[in-house]
């Protein structure tokens, strides 16, 4: 339980500072802290492969992409105008209502009384066997999606040709 509290505090602190800091580079660094906390939570839940995939994909790829985007949009300079949009109060109220609704539903459901089953055996070998047999079609579709996203991202971010109108 204490490990869970430490990891949860790390994740929430990282998430809050990723969305509230003024300097965007600091936001990206805080985002990696939140991802590390989540990876620790996955490892604690017994999902080793997902934990390491989280570290590889989110910290290794997504956070680096975010840093690239920040630098390419000159977001590393702190903004002069306020960082929150004028209607921030409405957004905060919506988020608080969503949180209270979700928490109320969770605490009033039967998830509170569920007993804890023994740790399942989810080895990487069994997962790989599943990917090669039962989940082979979703895996291929996912590969196609990633290829399309790669090509699409490159084409979107290409410089627009200066053609005469």
């Amino acid at each position: 339980m204490s490990i869970f509290i430490i990891l949860a505090a790390l994740t929430v602190a990282g998430a809050v500072s990723a969305l509230s800091l003024r300097n965007l580079v600091h936001c990206a660094l805080a985002l990696t802290v939140a991802f590390v906390g989540l990876a620790g939570l996955y490892l604690q839940l017994g999902a080793q492969f997902v934990g390491f995939a989280q570290i590889l994909v989110y910290i290794g790829a997504v956070a680096i992409l975010v840093v690239f985007a920040i630098l390419l949009t000159r977001g590393s300079e702190p903004p002069r105008q306020p960082i929150f949009s004028p209607g921030w109060l409405g957004g905060a109220v919506v988020a608080a209502v969503v949180f209270s609704l979700l928490t109320g539903m969770v605490l009033s459901s039967e998830a509170v009384t569920r007993e804890i089953p023994p740790l399942p055996q989810a080895t990487v070998a069994s997962l790989g066997e599943g990917f090669m047999t039962r989940y082979i079609l979703p895996l291929e579709v996912l590969g196609l999606l990633l290829t399309a996203a790669l090509i699409g991202a490159v084409i979107i971010a290409l410089k627009e040709p200066r053609e005469s109108p």
């Binding site: 929430v12 999902a47 949009s85 979107i156």
Partner: protein, 103 residues
């Protein structure tokens, strides 16, 4: 061992933080970070329900979480490319100033 509802409440908190960030920040990159946090909260729910579910040997929750991570990576790549392209066009990444469709 931590009970299931602790994970669910943490996931709800993460989702709300991401939602608040996506709704109230002005910079488009931070809006995308908020969306990533919401996706991560959903992944945490998948893993928690897999761990505490009646049949964890089926690996369904883990497989769904892995697919979700891959789709989120694709979404981040395309989203950031869009932000870079918008910045090149409007010279700003501020979502309040990109309002030419309003006029």
């Amino acid at each position: 061992m931590t009970p299931l509802h602790a994970y669910l409440v943490l996931s709800a908190l993460l989702f709300s933080i991401g939602l608040a960030g996506a709704l109230i920040r002005r910079n488009a990159i931070i809006v995308l970070i908020g969306i990533e946090l919401m996706l991560n909260a959903a992944n945490l729910n998948f893993i928690a329900f897999w761990r505490f579910g009646p049949n964890p040997q089926a690996l369904t929750g883990i497989v769904f979480a892995i697919f979700s991570i891959a789709v989120a990576a694709a979404e981040a790549a395309v989203g950031l490319a869009l932000i870079i392209s918008i910045y090149r066009h409007y010279q700003t990444a501020n979502v309040d100033e990109i309002n030419s469709m309003k006029d």
